[in-house]
Structure formats: structure tokens, C-alpha cells
């Protein structure tokens, strides 16, 4: 079964420091990976995706993620954290088991709460 794991429930970082939010995946075949962010009482906002190509993908708000096939990881990073980055971050993988069918639902991790201290 396809899955993603976010091993940290919470990540604390000081403003201005680099941040990393971890994600590992388990899929059959090539993964389609996504990061979403959820602010309090808001929906999920798309940050970035990896489909193919460069292992380092850049997304919204200065975030980037590094795809590592050998470690089956897709960690989210930002060189300098802002207090406004504090939110819940979800890693997701597209379910390709119904390839050829019209679904491709997302399978989400449990989320990591990022807390950036001023």
C-alpha cells in the first residue's frame, strides 16, 4: 500500500534559522509527491510538488523540497524561517494504483506542526 510518513509531530525553530520538515514515502513505481500547508481554520494550500526532473523543487513562499530516491524522502526546507510560516504542514503522495482510472487521490501524512519562535 502506498503511504507517507511524517515522523515529527512538531518542529520548533527560531526565526531566521533554516527549517526542515521531514517526509518519507512508500510507493510502487515513481512517486508524485506534494507538500501542502494549513493555517488555522483554513483549507490546504498547495506549496510544491515533485513529479520528475530536478531533485530540488522550489515552491511558494520561499519553500523548497529535496527528493531523495535512495532514502525515499521528500523533506521540506526553507533557508530562513519566518514567524508567519508557523502552520501545519502535510506531505502527500498521489495514489497511482488506479493508474488509467480517473482518480489519483492524494494520500496524506499525519502532518507536522511548525512553530517558529520570534
Amino acid at each position: 500500500a502506498q503511504s507517507v510518513a511524517q515522523p515529527e509531530d512538531q518542529v520548533n525553530v527560531a526565526e531566521g534559522n533554516p527549517l526542515t520538515v521531514k517526509c518519507t514515502y512508500s510507493v510502487s513505481g515513481n512517486p508524485y509527491l506534494f507538500w501542502y500547508v494549513q493555517y488555522p481554520n483554513r483549507g490546504l494550500q498547495f506549496l510544491l510538488k515533485y513529479i520528475t526532473g530536478d531533485n530540488l523543487v522550489k515552491g511558494s513562499y520561499g519553500f523548497e523540497a529535496e527528493f531523495n530516491k535512495s532514502q525515499t524522502s521528500f523533506h521540506l526546507k526553507k533557508p530562513s524561517a519566518l514567524v508567519s510560516d508557523s502552520a501545519l504542514y502535510f506531505c502527500a503522495v498521489r495514489d497511482m494504483q488506479n493508474y488509467g482510472g480517473a482518480t489519483n487521490k492524494l494520500i496524506f501524512g499525519t502532518g507536522t506542526l511548525l512553530a517558529v519562535q520570534p
Binding site: 506534494f34 483554513r42 483549507g43 488506479n98 492524494l106 496524506f108 499525519t110
Partner: protein
């Protein structure tokens, strides 16, 4: 920038009542989804919809649930007889045709069943 919209933002209902949650996907998107998030838990897939029919549903999506695209813009989720455990945030999402495209999510409807 176009976005997915959902109404209402919060719905309170009594157990056993029917509710309809409404979504307006992004206009050129053809794939539609409902997900839910029980408080403090992860986001779970409910159903996907394409070409006016359900393309996949999860085991959560039992006979009490149904979806419909009644016109060219709305996409609805109906729960026929709500249970306490249906209390959750329900998210609608849509995406364009093509495997490389991401899903865009609405702001959610918080359903509270009392």
C-alpha cells in the same frame, strides 16, 4: 487567481438529519474530490468524481454519502442521516486534466453533529 469555494463554512446539525455541503470547483477543472479531516487527525480521502460519475470511493463513503454535480459549476456532498462521528472538516478539491497537476483545495466546511 481562481480558487475553490465551499459553503457553508460551518454547519451544525442534529444526528439523523441530512446535510448538503456545497463546493464550486475551479472552472476549467474536470476532476473533483471530497476529503475530510477529523479534528486533530490526518486528511482522508472520501470520493473522486469525473465525467459525471464516481471514479473511486473510500470505505468511509458508505450508502449514507452521495455526490452530485447538479449543474456546470457546483459539486455537492450529501450525508443522508448524519452520525456523531461524521463531525469533521470536509474539504472539496479539484484539479485539471493530466497527471502532473496538483489538487486545489477549498477552505472547508466544518460539520458539527450534535
Amino acid at each position: 487567481e481562481p480558487e475553490v469555494t465551499q459553503t457553508p463554512s460551518h454547519q451544525v446539525t442534529q444526528m439523523g438529519q441530512e446535510v448538503i455541503l456545497r463546493c464550486v470547483p475551479i472552472s476549467n477543472h474536470l476532476y473533483f474530490y471530497w476529503y475530510r479531516q477529523i479534528l486533530g487527525q490526518k486528511v482522508e480521502f472520501l470520493v473522486s468524481f469525473y465525467n459525471n460519475e464516481i471514479s473511486e470511493k473510500s470505505e468511509i463513503f458508505d450508502d449514507q454519502f452521495s455526490v452530485e454535480r447538479p449543474d456546470g459549476s457546483n459539486f455537492t456532498l450529501k450525508i443522508r442521516s448524519t452520525k456523531l462521528e461524521d463531525s469533521a472538516m470536509y474539504f472539496c478539491a479539484s484539479r485539471r486534466t493530466g497527471l502532473n497537476y496538483e489538487q486545489y483545495f477549498g477552505p472547508g466546511t466544518r460539520l458539527t453533529v450534535t
